[in-house]
Symmetry: C2
């Protein structure tokens, strides 16, 4: 059976046509400085006539024992990964370091729980960077089990994996204090607690019910902040959104604003959520910050444009750090790499 795809030429064929040994041909592509100009020309000419562009990557990987690629595991459905500006900033940082190190970047989308583990294990990569994972996600263990370096962004902590991220609890406590001081009825607009992504408004939820480490840590920090300002966490309304989406945030905030016990200080977990909240507050005929104090998170363009106080951190740098660690073992500590940018939304 003749395949219509022409079989690619091999290095051995190129060498034969060039009248040199296979190794000379190999060196021509892999370590050109070790080959005389004359041989190199002969080899390249032969390669050109045979349509040989580069040594077969699979054979090269097998022989060298390295894949030449870093795997990025998007721990959840793609919609949430590519739609989220923070996630894309993170990936841009990873990509930057990969390019700089001459490595490819392999996206390993998590799709079907029954096959994800196998796909992670079988990936042709030299290390893994994991984004947005739930506690106990099987993909984390699958990555660790391969024996290759694993970096997890913002938890969960796991033996055998390096964690990169800021101290979300401390940052949440700091910004929570700031916003809660601007009112008397604090509330929180939250990311989903679990991968089930249930949306709801609840009073004083147990932060430990959140299986997303980022959500949990920030809830813990907001609870700390409530304590700091003398409010009982049990009285604090937490509106949980199913996604990091301004529209949903707007709807949830609308609900909060129409309650008898209307909050007047709203801490949110992202600038997208804050942006939606801002619009809902104005739409309700209320004003930020006089009627409702408001904060976001990430110091994104939306926060700047709308004058929303936010937590600044660089996802791009964190992505780069994750990649650098996985590829070269270089450590970087981001624990304290955040600060609060105060804007009009929390002005007294």
């Amino acid at each position: 059976m003749n395949s219509h795809v022409p079989r690619r030429a091999t290095l051995a064929q190129v060498a034969e046509l060039a009248g040199v040994s296979t190794m000379t041909a190999s060196y021509t592509f892999g370590r050109p400085e070790r080959v005389s100009a004359a041989s190199r020309e002969k080899v390249l000419a032969a390669a050109r006539t045979l349509g040989f562009t580069a040594p077969d990557p699979a054979a090269r990987s097998l022989r060298r024992g390295r894949a030449g690629a870093l795997g990025v595991v998007l721990g959840e459905h793609l919609t949430y990964a590519f739609d989220d500006p923070q996630a894309t900033a993170f990936m841009a940082g990873v990509a930057e370091v990969c390019a700089e190190q001459g490595q490819a970047m392999t996206i390993l989308p998590v799709a079907d729980a029954t096959t994800d583990v196998a796909r992670i294990s079988a990936a042709a990569v030299d290390g893994y960077v994991l984004w947005t994972t739930e506690d106990g996600a099987p993909v984390v263990d699958a990555a660790i089990a391969t024996g290759r370096p694993v970096v997890v962004h913002s938890g969960p902590a796991a033996a055998g994996a390096h964690v990169v991220g800021i101290d979300n609890r401390a940052a949440a406590r700091a910004i929570g204090r700031l916003v809660f001081a601007g009112g008397t009825v604090p509330a929180v607009l939250s990311f989903p607690l679990t991968a089930a992504r249930a949306a709801a408004v609840v009073a004083g939820p147990d932060p430990d019910d959140a299986t997303f480490p980022v959500t949990r840590e920030r809830l813990l920090g907001f609870r700390d902040a409530a304590d700091d300002v003398g409010t009982d966490w049990a009285d604090v309304l937490v509106a949980v959104c199913s996604t990091n989406d301004a529209r949903e945030a707007r709807a949830m905030t609308q609900e909060l604003m129409s309650r008898a016990d209307r909050p007047d200080a709203l801490a949110t977990m992202s600038d997208e959520l804050a942006s939606g909240a801002f619009r809902a507050i104005e739409a309700a005929g209320l004003h930020v910050p006089t009627d409702v104090a408001l904060t976001g998170w990430d110091d994104a363009e939306a926060a700047r444009a709308q004058g929303i106080t936010s937590v600044a951190q660089s996802m791009r740098e964190q992505g780069a750090a994750c990649a650098r660690y996985a590829l070269t073992g270089t450590r970087a500590d981001f624990t304290d790499q955040w600060h609060i940018v105060e804007r009009a939304s929390t002005a007294r």
Copy 2:
């Protein structure tokens, strides 16, 4: 020299421990249904004790002749790729199909022109999808030269590559007509013409000076539209932005609005650009659409929020179609897959 990284177990070692042949172990992972339950159990138990998670991907690729991955070439610096919502929507579509087909998605960032071609050629992928490429970009030829399937999004056309995208010229003509009819002094806010990304305001540039196919086609369409409304293209101001960025668009538009021959009908190449233009127009004390008619492109959230007329197309679907073509050969025609969404920004 002992590496601290433990050598991974091989299939042969697993087989030996399980007391079966290597092939039985191989089948257990590759085609489990062909192995008796008893053997399978023995093999899996042995694998577990040896920490063997999956057959070596490089060896498997070499033997099978397939990499199991699709390459996505981001034709330009990463900043522009991951910062652009359209690009990320496109990648989400590619990723979706890769996940569905059980393939990995390898991002091949273009970084250093001297090594890009080699990286493209040497990538362990079964096909290529190219995004945002300039005419004559060497990476296109490099991808084609590998003999693997190549799909280019929105041009440039090249022998051996399949092109996916809408008819940008026709769409530009249609929306250009609409916006230009809303005034008497038309102007255009454009993407960069070439990879040099020079920013400038020029009157009636030759569309063929643009080496980015998307830019060129849209300029051609806007020129058609100018003809349609009886305006000499040579009199049409084109403000060229260096990136697809609202801030830069705002500054460029501010410049346009302060001219004696102030435009009153502005066609832009994206909703980001339109969004920046909108703010500049309002900041100049003018009003959309009464003082200046305005259009965007892509029907993104920004256009919806600000009521900007736009060209709707699905980048996600186009990304999915590109991946599907490269992976399975399935064709899809997007030529006419666009429509105009009219909003207040072009209301008479």
